[in-house]
């Protein structure tokens, strides 16, 4: 903690870090900020302070509540697809399921890495082209991206599980599928459910942003409202997103605590 106790190596790395930070702070382009003026900022804040409650529900399918429901629907369906499809990928990519052929797992891990590597937004753009703009493109984008995420996490859990349990069952004569159904699934099910719920939370957040590229959800009206500078509408949409995400976080938090 004290300066004296620090090794030379830590000092050097800290100094390098400081130099890098200063370098990036000085070389970045701040010209964009020049258009900002305090009066404009006050204007935005005033607009954000007066949410347009009329947008909350007006009976049409273009109001806040139905769009939020759509966003949750996108996230829910996307996560469900991903969870179901991540399981077979886990079965190929977990090292402890393929003791004799470890090269098989490389393939599964490669698939996961490739799927995870693309930003969700890029998937959304691709699927908007494939299935046309709309919520379904968002579902596919989230689904495909989450396969990679969940596949990786599922595999890690599978590889970290207690192998003695499996050996015990094998000792009394269970075959491969019996060990899967009677040991691995009961052991991993709560963990996998917890991970899937966590990713549902994440998916709600990304579903809210995918509307930026035309993949349905709350993002599209938000970006229109921002571009037309109708801050009271921006405000109500942001409130809606924050409240929804917050409530879902709490609910999944309670369920995940019970699963543990």
């Amino acid at each position: 903690m004290m300066l004296r106790e620090m090794s030379k190596k830590t000092m050097i790395s800290l100094i390098t870090l400081a130099i890098l930070v200063v370098l990036s702070a000085t070389t970045l382009d701040y010209s964009g900020l020049r258009t900002f003026s305090p009066s404009m900022g006050m204007d935005v804040l005033r607009g954000l302070g007066q949410p347009d409650w009329g947008f909350l529900y007006d009976g049409s399918s273009e109001d806040l509540l139905s769009l939020l429901l759509l966003t949750i629907g996108i996230a829910c369906l996307g996560t469900m697809i991903a969870t179901v499809l991540a399981v077979p990928i886990t079965l190929i990519s977990a090292v402890n399921l393929w003791p004799a052929h470890p090269w098989v797992t490389k393939l599964g891990k490669f698939i996961c890495n490739v799927l995870r590597a693309f930003p969700e937004l890029v998937f959304a753009i691709i699927f908007v082209k494939v299935v046309g703009p709309g919520p379904f493109a968002g579902v596919m984008a989230i689904g495909v991206h989450q396969i990679g995420m969940l596949g990786k996490l599922f595999t890690e859990e599978m590889e970290a599980m207690d192998e003695r349990l499996v050996e015990e069952v094998q000792a009394v004569g269970a075959n491969f599928w019996q060990t899967i159904f009677y040991v691995r699934i009961p052991y991993l099910m709560p963990i996998y459910c917890s991970l899937a719920l966590n990713h549902f939370e994440i998916a709600v957040r990304s579903a809210a942003t995918l509307g930026l590229v035309g993949a349905g959800g709350i993002g599209a009206p938000l970006i229109f409202a921002i571009q037309t500078r109708s801050w009271s509408k921006v405000s109500i949409i942001l409130i809606g997103v924050v409240v929804t995400v917050f409530i879902l976080d709490q609910i999944t938090g309670i369920i995940r605590k019970k699963l543990r």
């Binding site: 990036s24 702070a25 970045l28 429901l69 829910c76 369906l77 753009i125 924050v242 917050f246």
Partner: protein, 259 residues
């Protein structure tokens, strides 16, 4: 786990869960008007995209270097600013430090609110308010880091050993002294690990921030996608992948040496 609690004995409970999940699935399909056959019907679009995508335009690579470095700079600066703000707030959000349930609940609620706003939406909002450019990206990353790291940090502070705190307060240390001499040494390595983790996440996030005008490599990604120049999109994504992989490996190594 007793026998009565296993899958085979509580099947009615599991049946209910399965029915609920099925209802969620059907409801979501109905809400999003999903038609899975569409994916296969329009697969020609997908193959057209992929066939151009697997021929990256390598001649464009030198022009990507500068925006990529800018992206890294944005995430570094944003991470550092976010961390500076996260440390005091994470201390305030634990009952260990404040010894008052209400104060820490209030700060936790505040941090929770910051975390709920999706990064890209925040970037879009900041771009509209502060203008297009890298500075807006830094601001977005800073807010995002603040929300993410402060939660991880207060969870770390909650699990510390109380002995050193009692020892320090027994010899008459005040709140500030306890925080610096009893709490900080216990969580410092964890904090450093979270800082690198945050940097990793931020590099990933900052590559798409440009899509809404917040600077970095995302700006080129956006324009190439808009021009349907998929060979270029491909090389941009490859560059992002490579950078993220390198940053991941480096920060993983540093984090492992810290813990």
């Amino acid at each position: 786990m007793s026998l009565k609690e296993t899958v085979h004995f509580k099947w009615y409970k599991h049946l209910l869960i399965v029915l609920f999940l099925f209802a969620c699935f059907q409801g979501s399909v109905w809400i999003t008007s999903a038609e899975f056959s569409q994916v296969f019907q329009n697969s020609s679009q997908m193959t057209a995209f992929l066939s151009r995508f697997i021929h990256p335009d390598f001649s464009y690579l030198p022009k990507l270097l500068e925006p990529m470095i800018k992206t890294l700079q944005m995430s570094l600066l944003g991470t550092v600013i976010g961390l500076v703000f996260a440390i005091p707030f994470s201390f305030l959000a634990t009952t260990v430090v404040t010894e008052n349930r209400w104060v820490s609940t209030f700060f936790r609620f505040l941090l929770g609110l910051v975390r709920t706003i999706p990064t890209l939406l925040l970037a879009a909002l900041f771009v509209a308010v502060f203008g297009i450019g890298e500075a807006t990206g830094v601001l977005t990353i800073a807010v995002f880091t603040f929300g993410m790291v402060s939660q991880l940090m207060f969870q770390a502070i909650e699990t510390i050993d109380f002995g050193p705190i009692e020892a320090a307060s027994a010899v008459g240390a005040n709140k500030m002294q306890i925080a610096i001499w009893s709490i900080a040494p216990q969580v410092l390595s964890q904090f450093a690990s979270y800082a690198f983790y945050a940097f990793e996440v931020n590099v990933r996030a900052s590559t798409v921030l440009g899509y809404v005008g917040a600077g970095g490599i995302g700006v080129i990604l956006n324009s190439s996608l808009a021009l349907l120049n998929y060979e270029r999109v491909s090389i941009i994504i490859l560059t992002i992948l490579l950078t993220v992989a390198i940053v991941d490996k480096l920060s993983e190594r540093v984090r492992r040496s810290l813990l």
